[in-house]
Amino acid sequence: MLRLTLQLRLSRGLLSRGLRTRSRGPFDDKDGKWAEFKKKLQVVWPGGSWEPFSNTSHLPPEHADVVIVGGGVIGWSVAYWLKRLEARKNAIRVLVVERDPTYSKASTVLSIGGIRQQFSIPQSVQLSLFSVEFLRNINEYLAVPDEPPLDIQFCPSGYLMLASEGNASEMECNVKMQRQTGAKVCLLSPEQLKNKFPWINTEDVVLASYGLENEGWFDPWCLLQGLRRKALSMGVYHSYGEVTELVSSVRPMVTSRGEQVNIKRIYEVHVKMNNSLEYQPVECAIVVNAAGAWSGQLAELAGIGIGPPGTLQGTRLPVEPRKRYVYVWHCPQGPGLEAPLIIDISGVYFRREGLGGYYLGGCSPMEEDEPKTQDLEVDHDFFQKKIWPHLTHRVPAFNSLKVRSAWAGYYDFNTFDQNGVVGPHPLVSNMYFATGFSGHGLQHAPGVGRAVAEILLNGEFSTIDLNVFSFNRFYQEEKVFEDYII
C-alpha cells in the first residue's frame, strides 16, 4: 500500500498539478473519514470516554443449553424439572427469559387457582393427579435450605359440575373414566344434590359430578415463587427481557417419499432488554415455548406457520390470547363453608373466597362475544347481563349481591381444540412446546414440566404419555377435544 502511494506520488510529481487544490498526499481526506477516525481515536485513547469492558451482568449468558421463553408457572416448572432430572449436577445450563418482571399480564397470577381431575381426557386426569401429589408434598420437592416452607393454602373443597339432559350421558362416561384413572369423583342425582347443598336450585339439573378429594383451589403465586426459588437455587439462569428474534439454520432434507422438506434448527435467541435497544444473542441448543398467551407470536418468529396452508410448513400454532373476567362479590346470605367450586350448565362458575361471605367467579363468553384482547380492562356489563341471571337461577341467595371488584386475565387459548400442546415441532427440530392449555395450565404445570423435561433429556415420556397433545395433530386435523373447559 505504501509502495503504491509512493509510486503515485512520484508519478504525479512529474506531471503538473493543474488547478487542483492543495492535496495532502495519501491522506487526502476528501470525504471526512480521516476526521471521524481521529475523533474515534481520541475517545479510545486512555483518558477518553470509551470503556471496552462494560458491565454486562444484566444481560443473559451468551451460551445456554435450553432457553425457556416465558417465566410463568409452566416455564419455571420445566426449568425445575430439567434441573431435577439432569444426569449429573450442572449438566445443563437452563435460561428462563421473562418479559415482565411484575407479572402484570401473566395468566398464572391472574388465575383463580383451581385444580380438578374432572376432565374428559385420561392424560389430563393423570396430569392433575400428578400435580396434586406434587402440591401435597410441595415442601419436600421445593425445599431450599434455610428458607421458610411454602404454604399454598390449598382448600380441598372439590369441584361440582352440573349437567343437563344433553350432557348427562357424556358426564357419566367421563366420570367412569376419571374413576378408573384414579380420581375420587362421584355422581349425584338432583335429590342427593339438594340434600347435600340445600341452597342450590336443582331445576334443570339431571346429573352432577362432585370431586371428593384432591380438588379445590390454592394460591398460584406461591407455587410460582416456590418453583422459581428452588430452580434458582439449583442453578437456573434467568433474564428479564423479550425474545425478538430466533435465528435458525435451515437444512433441506428429503423424506422417504421423495418430498423436500426444510428442517430448521434454532441456534440463536435474541433477548432484548426491557426499555432499551440492547440485546444479547444467546446461543442455544433447545428452545422451549412456554410463552402462554403469546406463544403464537413466538412460534411465528421461528417461522412456524409460514407456508402454503394445508401443508406442514403452513400449519401455525393456533394459540392466541383470550380475555376472561373474574368478578368478586359479597353476599352475606350465600352458601356456607362447604361450597365447592360450582360450574353451572351455562358455563358460569363461582367459588367461595375467604370466610367473610365473598365469592368469586366468572364465565367464558360465547365465540361471538369474545372481548378484545389489547388490554385487561373489565367489562362490568358482562356480569350484569351474562353471569348474574345464571347465578341467581342456580343459587337464589345470589339475588342480592354486591360486586366488589373484578379483574381480567388471558387464557392461552388453543383455538383448535382447547387443549395443551406439548412436545417438539416436526420441522423446527429444537423447539418444544408447553402451552395452549386454555385455562387449565396452572393445574397441569408440575406434570407438564416433568413431561417436557423427560422428553428433552430422555427423548420420550416416561411418567405420563403426552403424545396425544403433540403438535402433529394440527396438521393431521385430529381434534383432541376437552369437554370441560370453563
Binding site: P156, E338, L355
Partner: protein, 372 residues
C-alpha cells in the same frame, strides 16, 4: 437424589497434602493455592480449630443437614406405611388397629376394652378373636400419622370416634380424606393439631353423622370464632366445642362500644349480629389474655377414662371471664400415664399463669402428656 450422594464428595488426596473437601472449592479461609499450603494454620487452639474447620466446611455441613432431613422424612414415611399384609389376611379393622397401636395410639373394638400400645403383642396373639369385630374407637392423639398413614384408617366401615389431638402431621389434606368415614363417624377431635386450618375444616361437611367435633386450640386457624360459627352452620346436628365465639375479635374501647350500641339501638328490629354478642356481655374492657382460652381441661387429654368419671361440677360462666370449669377430679392414675399438674384446691384465677402448654411441649409436664 443420587446426584447429592455424588456431590458429597469423598476426600481426594490428589491435590496435595491437605484434606480437600467440597468447601475447599471455595477459597474461604485458605490461600490461593491450597494444594501448596501444607499446613495452613499451625499451632491453632483446638477449640478455635473446630469452629474454623466447621466454617470452612460450610457446604459439607449443609449436605449433612440435608441428609438428616431426608432420613427424618424417610423415617416418617416408614412409620406411615399401609399395613397391606394385615389388611389382606385379617381385614381392615385388624390392620387399622395394628397400625394405630404401632404408632402409639389406643383402639377399642366393639364391646371390648381399650387396647393400649403395651397390649400390642397380646392383641396380635389374639388377632383371630378380634378379626371379626368392628373397630369402633381410635385414639391416635399425638401420633405421627400423616396423609399416607390415614390410608389405614379411612376405610373402616364402622368407626364411631376418631381422636387426632395434637398430631403434628395432620393437615388439611388429611381432613379431606375423612369423607369415606361419613357413614359412621360420630365424634372427631382435632384439638391442638398445628397444621389444620379453616380450609380443612370446610371439608368436614361430608361427615353427616358427626355429633361432636372438637376444634380447640388450632393455631393455624386464623379466625377461630368466625370459623366456629361457620362450622356450626355447616354441620347443624353437630356439637362443636373448643373455639370461643369471641376469638379473633378486637375488644372495643368504651366510647367505641357506646357508639356501636347507640347505632344498634337506633335501628329497631335490626338483627343483633352474632359478631356483636360479646360487646354486651363482657362488662369490663379487655378480656384477660389466656394461653388456652379454648381447652376445657388444660393439661389434661380427654380420654374415655376421664369421661367415665362423674363430672362433679358444672360449666360456669363468670361475668368477668368466659371461663370453662368442670369439676372433674384429678385422679392421678386416671387415663394413660396422666398426672395432673394442678392441685385440686387452686382457685380459678391462679390457673391463668400456671398453665403449661402440652401442645407446644413447654415443660416436662406437657411432654409427658404427649409422649407414649
Amino acid at each position: 437424589m443420587e446426584n447429592d450422594l455424588l456431590r458429597a464428595g469423598c476426600p481426594t488426596w490428589w491435590g496435595g497434602g491437605t484434606l480437600r473437601t467440597l468447601s475447599s472449592q471455595s477459597n474461604f479461609g485458605q490461600g490461593p493455592n491450597p494444594s501448596y499450603d501444607l499446613n495452613p494454620n499451625p499451632g491453632r487452639n483446638p477449640q478455635k480449630g473446630l469452629m474454623a474447620s466447621m466454617a470452612s466446611r460450610f457446604y459439607d455441613v449443609e449436605q449433612f443437614r440435608e441428609w438428616i432431613f431426608r432420613f427424618w422424612s424417610w423415617n416418617l414415611y416408614r412409620k406411615n406405611k399401609v399395613f397391606s399384609y394385615t389388611l389382606k389376611h385379617y381385614g381392615p379393622n385388624t390392620a387399622a388397629a395394628h397400625f394405630v397401636l404401632t404408632q402409639g395410639g389406643a383402639v377399642r373394638f366393639q364391646e371390648q376394652e381399650w387396647l393400649f400400645p403395651q397390649d400390642k403383642n397380646q392383641f396380635l396373639g389374639n388377632s383371630h378373636h378380634f378379626q371379626k369385630l368392628p373397630l369402633e374407637e381410635v385414639d391416635a392423639s399425638g401420633c405421627l400419622i400423616n396423609y399416607y398413614g390415614l390410608e389405614n384408617l379411612v376405610f373402616l366401615p364402622s368407626l364411631r370416634s376418631l381422636k387426632l389431638c395434637g398430631c403434628p402431621y395432620v393437615d388439611d389434606w388429611c381432613l379431606s380424606r375423612l369423607h369415606s368415614l361419613g357413614g359412621s363417624l360420630q365424634e372427631l377431635s382435632l384439638a391442638g393439631c398445628p397444621k389444620v386450618t379453616e380450609r380443612g375444616l370446610a371439608c368436614l361437611h361430608h361427615l353427616w353423622n358427626l355429633r361432636r367435633l372438637d376444634i380447640s386450640n388450632l393455631p393455624a386457624v386464623s379466625e377461630k370464632g368466625l370459623t366456629r360459627i361457620l362450622v356450626e352452620e355447616m354441620l347443624p346436628d353437630c356439637e362443636v366445642v373448643g373455639a370461643d365465639y369471641a376469638d379473633g375479635l378486637v375488644p372495643l374501647s368504651e366510647d367505641e362500644r357506646g357508639v356501636e350500641e347507640k347505632a344498634a339501638a337506633a335501628v329497631p328490629g335490626a338483627p343483633r349480629g352474632q359478631r356483636t354478642l360479646w360487646n354486651r356481655e363482657a362488662p369490663s374492657g379487655m378480656l384477660p389474655r389466656r394461653p388456652f382460652p379454648c381447652l376445657p381441661h388444660p393439661g389434661l387429654i380427654d380420654t374415655p377414662e376421664i369421661r367415665k368419671l362423674e363430672p362433679r361440677g358444672e360449666v360456669i360462666y363468670s361475668s368477668a371471664h368466659t371461663w370453662w370449669k368442670t369439676g372433674l377430679g384429678w385422679e392421678p392414675q386416671a387415663g394413660r400415664g396422666l398426672c395432673s399438674p394442678f392441685p385440686l384446691d387452686k382457685g380459678e384465677d391462679e390457673w391463668i399463669d400456671y398453665l403449661p402448654s402440652p401442645w407446644e411441649g413447654g415443660g416436662e409436664l406437657g411432654a409427658q402428656n404427649l409422649k407414649r
